[in-house]
């Protein structure tokens, strides 16, 4: 898995993909939290 970081295209994708993953995770949490409140 470690060698994947040396693939240039993956390093290009990683910041945006990670950002989008956190946005989806957090918005889903927010949705759940507001529904529970």
């Amino acid at each position: 898995v470690g060698v994947l970081q040396f693939v240039p295209l993956l390093n290009l994708l990683a910041p945006i993909y990670t950002g989008l993953a956190f946005i989806h995770l957090s918005l889903a949490e927010l949705k759940r939290a507001r529904a529970a409140a």
Binding site: Q5, N11, P15, G19, L25, E29, A33, A36
Partner: protein
Amino acid sequence: MKNVIAALTGALRSLLHPKMLAVMMGPMLAALLLWLVAALMFWHGWTQGLADLIQATPAQQWIAQGFLAPASHYLITFVLILLLLPAIYVTALLITSIFAMPMMVTHVAQRDYAQLEYKHGGSTMGSVLNSAGATTAYVAGWIITLPLWLFSPFAIIVPLLLLISINACSVTMPWPSMPVGRNTHASHPLPSVISFCWAS
């Protein structure tokens, strides 16, 4: 675990949107351009500084005497390029976390979470400070773990761990600038990921 998989799947779906592809290219091109201009302006100073630094150690003599002798002339350029690559990547991450994240949050919120009420909270300054903190931690970790690069397993694992940490920290912490921020007066505790927020 289920929500993490759902988030990763949703992220993949969002990533393929043309707007996100444009956002993805922007910071990387800007960082590349920035460092290219800097390299054109300061290349001589950088190579001179690095040459002085390397000549102060036995490394250059050791390389010049060994089978790497033909490559010793290019050593400085090679080291400089090795240093520039993470610098370009970190700059792209900084640009992404400061400028692209608010756009990405708005895009995902409008497309996939349209039912969430739009609220205000946090500030861009908070995002900038959090990104600066994450970058400082990354650079410090990178410098501290440099000797580990001499041992093959660590040369693969250490940069990967550092990249994971900065990806997670720099894109998570700008969260307070999200346009659908949590209501300040809500009584329930902060959800796990949103608790990274330094503001409401």
